[in-house]
């Protein structure tokens, strides 16, 4: 078991003929992901890495039975690609693209209301279920199959955490990058719920950062509902107020959204937070030992 995606998931790549998409399509196929189709308007009939390309997403879905899409479409057209995926009634759409105008996402979220499609991202590294299915950008070799779920607002920080865990012999169930934008699809709580219900996940690592209050809300939710241990990290302790730290959503505004505030809220809800990004793995291992589930999580 795992969450969101597994070895049987059929994936369509939107924007497959772009250079980034081509590179990562190859990487995903090598990882074992079932990439069944690609979409680029006007390039229907071509092939990328042996994958058939279609002009429209509905055509691709009809021909291949894909249920999940991943979007590498450039920012000015990416919101439209999400709408197309929702219209095609896919189960899940993972949007990698960065710099989508925020008001475009406001419309997308409105359009998604009442529809079955779930969205991860935008501006995210994707989802990997270790040794089964990798969708997005995450480097392949860092993952190791196991029982720790990882959720993060940052791509590279996810890699760092996963790498630390794998190096210490702690495998992962799924790693989910929810993205660094202020308006996005699934949030911490949505993914925490999925991990809480997944019998193969024994513990969760949650990586947050400055800006907004999603971590505080997640901490409250964890305190009330989560039956598995959660360990956290918050990036941006040193970030000056009012400055956008790379991610569109990473900004301390009006004195709100600071790292200290988030860490306090998490601690108050019983969540241990790693002091530095170098000790994310160690902190989780310490908690696994305290809870008596280290051996169950350690892969030899």
């Amino acid at each position: 078991m795992s969450i969101l995606v597994n070895k049987d998931t059929k994936v369509v790549v939107q924007g497959i003929t772009g250079s980034t998409a081509k590179f990562h399509t190859k990487q995903m196929i090598e990882y074992g992901t079932k990439i069944v189709a690609g979409v680029t308007p006007g390039k229907g009939g071509e092939k990328v890495e042996g994958v058939p390309v279609f002009n429209t997403l509905s055509e691709a879905v009809k021909a291949t039975g894909a249920t999940v899409s991943v979007i590498y479409v450039p920012a000015p057209f990416a919101a439209d690609a999400i709408l197309e995926a929702v219209d095609a009634q896919l189960e899940l759409v993972i949007c990698i693209t960065e710099h989508i105008p925020v008001l475009d996402m406001v419309k997308v979220k409105r359009y998604m209301e009442g529809k079955k499609t779930r969205l991860i991202g935008p501006n995210c590294p994707g989802v990997t279920t270790a040794e089964e299915c990798k969708i997005g950008l995450m480097p392949s070799y860092i993952h190791k199959k196991g029982h720790v779920g990882v959720i993060s607002r940052s791509g590279t920080l996810t890699y760092e955490a996963v790498h630390q865990l794998s190096q210490a012999g702690i495998g992962q169930s799924s790693a989910v990058g929810i993205g660094g934008d202020p308006i996005k699809g699934m949030d911490f709580i949505d993914v925490l719920k999925a991990f809480n219900e997944d019998e193969d996940t024994y513990a969760v690592m949650m990586l947050g950062e400055i800006g907004g209050t999603a971590e505080e809300e997640a901490a409250e939710w964890i305190k009330k509902h989560m039956t598995k241990p959660v360990v956290g990290f918050i990036g941006g302790r040193m970030a000056p107020p009012g400055k956008r730290m790379g991610h569109a959503g990473a900004i301390i505004s009006g004195g709100k959204g600071t790292a200290d505030e988030k860490i306090r809220a998490m601690n108050a809800c019983g969540i241990e937070v790693a002091d530095t990004p170098a000790t994310m793995g160690e902190t989780l291992i310490k908690v696994l030992k305290e809870k008596g589930i280290y051996d169950a999580c350690h892969t030899h």
Binding site: H24, P101, I142, G155, E160, E209
Partner: protein
């Protein structure tokens, strides 16, 4: 992107949103000419900088005649204003707004923001005008009224009306206030704003509702579809290194320390700044080289870092996903060969194409301290800089 108050008012005026008559002036003579053209009893001379708190810092003066306009303009132009938003170094005033004075009866707050929790644009208003909205939210939250706007229908008339009555706009002025808010919402949507804050909105003695101040911020990701807004950029108001970095598509924020870092991904870049500090070092910058680095952008990043005289060491921390380690390595080698790096350089590479990246660095013969983890990299650079 931020713009000046006078630029914001120019945009508002085009959308029929009421603002006082006025014009920008870049010299004392221009200020006098604008005042003469306005020909009002009272003129306001307002410093134009990208920061709030100008009034308290002496950047806003009311002039009763042309001589006073001349006097205040010459006092404020060139003056360094220090406000709670400028930092201790302050900001030099290079532009003024000369505006007709108005007879203020009451001040309100009206703002549009993007709300993360609802994924919608939210209209916020309060009768506590002139105060920072954060202060009102902390002390008297019951005085803030909000309307969540459905993007399909836009700001509905009844919502604007409800806000106007809730903040106690005099009934005879509610119509004007509604028109004002509807216009402001159009600006917000059509120009891709991230914040549109009118503080204060005023009701005047002669029965008008207008924006006394205007703070408009724009979504950087949407600027390419608004060349007219992009033209308002005032590079004097921005950090030189941050501007240079933006040319290469890099995210750069200047900090006060002496250890520069170059990282891929915003989250890891923030975490790298944090861990340098945790190990007793002082970070000189936040730098995210972004997701599509080329040899040129990496070299550009190193040029900016090396051009910063306070930098005594560099920590490169790359965990390649969409970025490839070999491309980053090539950029480092190319920068080192062309400009020379004469300060300690610690490099940690991991992720996509890591083996090729390490090989390029080894073969280059450049003096690089290799680190095999985030923790050891941070410790090494802090030790080397001392």
């Amino acid at each position: 992107m931020n713009i000046h108050e006078y630029q914001g008012k120019e945009i508002l005026r085009k959308y029929g949103v009421a603002v006082p008559n006025g014009k920008a002036a870049f010299s004392v003579e221009e200020a006098v000419a604008v005042a003469q053209e306005l020909a009002t009893k009272v003129c306001v001379v307002k410093a134009q900088i990208h920061a709030g708190g100008r009034g308290k810092a002496g950047g806003v003066k009311v002039a009763k005649n042309i001589d006073e306009v001349r006097q205040y303009a010459s006092e404020i132009l060139g003056k360094t204003l220090v406000t709670h938003q400028t930092g201790p170094q302050g900001k030099v005033v290079k532009r003024l707004l000369i505006e007709e004075g108005c007879d203020i009866k009451k001040e309100y707050y009206v703002g549009l923001v993007i709300d993360r929790a609802t994924s919608r644009v939210v209209l916020m208003a309060s009768e506590e005008g002139g105060m920072e909205i954060e202060t009102v939210a902390a002390n008297t939250p019951e005085k803030i009224f909000k309307e969540v706007i459905d993007p399909v229908v836009g700001l509905a008339g009844y919502q604007a009306r409800r806000i106007a009555f809730n903040i106690n706009i005099p009934p005879e002025l509610v119509g004007q206030a509604v028109k004002f808010m509807m216009g402001l919402y159009r600006v917000f949507i059509e120009k891709d704003c991230s914040i549109a804050e009118i503080n204060p909105l005023v009701a005047t003695g002669d029965g008008k509702v207008m924006a006394l101040d205007a703070k408009l911020n724009f979504d950087d990701s949407a600027l390419s579809r608004h060349p007219d807004v992009a033209e308002y950029r005032d590079t004097d108001e921005e950090d030189a290194n941050e501007l240079e970095a933006a040319k290469y598509g890099l995210n750069y924020v200047t900090l006060d320390g002496d250890i520069a870092c170059m990282v891929n991904g915003a989250g890891l870049a923030m975490a790298t700044v944090d861990i340098i500090k945790h190990n007793g070092g002082e970070p000189a910058n936040f730098l995210d080289v972004g997701g599509s680095s080329t040899v040129e952008t990496v070299k550009g990043a190193l040029d900016i870092i090396l051009g910063d005289k306070k930098v005594k060491g560099i920590f490169v921390n790359i965990f390649g996903g969409i970025n490839k380690c070999d491309v980053i390595a090539q950029g480092i080698v190319s920068a080192a060969q062309q400009v020379g790096i004469h300060i300690p350089l610690v490099v940690r590479l991991e992720g996509t194409n890591v083996e090729q990246g390490k090989e390029i660095l080894e073969k280059s013969g450049i003096d690089i301290v290799v680190a095999d983890s985030l923790s050891s990299g941070a410790k090494k650079i802090v030790a080397l800089v001392g």
